[in-house]
Symmetry: C3
Subunit: 133 residues, 3 copies
Amino acid sequence: MPHLVILYTANLDAQSDMKGLCRDLCDTMLDQRDEVGEQVFPTAGTRVLAYPAPHYAVADGQGDYAFVYLNLRMTSGRSGSVKEQIGQALLARTKAHFAALFDQRHLGLTLQIDEGAESFNARHNNMYSLFAQ
Amino acid sequence: MPHLVILYTANLDAQSDMKGLCRDLCDTMLDQRDEVGEQVFPTAGTRVLAYPAPHYAVADGQGDYAFVYLNLRMTSGRSGSVKEQIGQALLARTKAHFAALFDQRHLGLTLQIDEGAESFNARHNNMYSLFAQ
Amino acid sequence: MPHLVILYTANLDAQSDMKGLCRDLCDTMLDQRDEVGEQVFPTAGTRVLAYPAPHYAVADGQGDYAFVYLNLRMTSGRSGSVKEQIGQALLARTKAHFAALFDQRHLGLTLQIDEGAESFNARHNNMYSLFAQ
C-alpha cells in the first residue's frame, strides 16, 4: 500500500489525459514526507488505478455532467497532520489537472482518504529491491 | 457524496439496460427525504457509476450465473430509519429493474450501504450552483 | 457475500489468464471450512470480479511494472483463525497463479480482507436453491 483508485464518468476520457493524471498523482504520493522527513509511502507499493465507468448517472441528468471520485487507501496509523498534508497535495494536483476543464464544463471532484481496517494483509512484490528507501 | 457504485458480471450487459438503471437509482437517491422533509442527498453530489467486470466467477461456475453488487457510500450521521428507507428504496428499484430477468436466469443481487469513515474529505464541484437545495 | 474484487494494471491481460484466476480463487473460497467443518461461504453468494485498469501508474514509472490488488469483503464475525486461513489460502493460490510471471517481470500483489461494517444489507438471489448448504 497505498493505492489511489479513481472512479470517473467515461465522458472525461476524450477530454482529459487520465493516464497523465495517474502518473502525476503517483508522483505526488511519492513526494510526501512525514514529520521527520522520511518518505511516507514505499515506492514499490505505491500505485494509482483509474477506471472510466461506461454507465453512469450524475445529479439530475439534465446536462453533460462529469464526476471524478478519488479514493486513497493507506495503512492506518499516520498522524492527522500527515494525512491532511497528503490530502491537500492530492487535491491541489487534481484541481490543477482539471483546471481548464473546470472552467468549460460541469464537473465534480471528490477526494477521500481511507485508512484500511483490514483483517488480513499480505503482499508479494519483487519491486522493493529496486528502490532504496 | 453520496455515490452508488455497481459492480456486475459483464454477461448482463446484453440483457439489461445498465445505463437506465444508473439513472433510475440516481433519481431514487434524489427522491429521498429525511424526517423533516428535507432532501437527504445534495443533487450536485449524487452519482451512480456502473462497472461490468470482464473477468468473473460466480458460485460453482457450472451455469451462466450473473451477479450485481451495489454499494452506496454516504456521509455518516444519518438516522437508522433514514438509512433503512434509502436501502429499501434502492432495493425495490433494483428488483423492479431486474424482475423480468430474475424469472429467466440465475441472478444474484446484493445491496449494501456504507457510511464513510474517511480521514480526509474534500470536493471541488461547479454544479452546486445549478441546484437550489 | 462474500466477494473478491481484483483491481489490476491492464498490462497483465496479455500475460495472465485472469478469468482462470477468478475461477480458481472462487473455488478456493468455496473450499474454506470453519472450525466445525462447515463451509464458510455460501456457494450462491460467492463471486469474484476482476477489473483491468486502462489507466494506471506504479512506483516511479521507470519500468513496465504491474500490480494486482485483491480485496475480499466478507461478513463480519468470523474468528481470527478462519480469517487467517482464508487469507493464506487466497494468497497461496494467487502466488501460484503468478509464479512464472513473477520470475519474469516486475510485479506486486497485495491481498486484503475487509469485514463489512455496512449500515444496510439486503440480497435478492435465485441461486440459493441450486446449492444444498
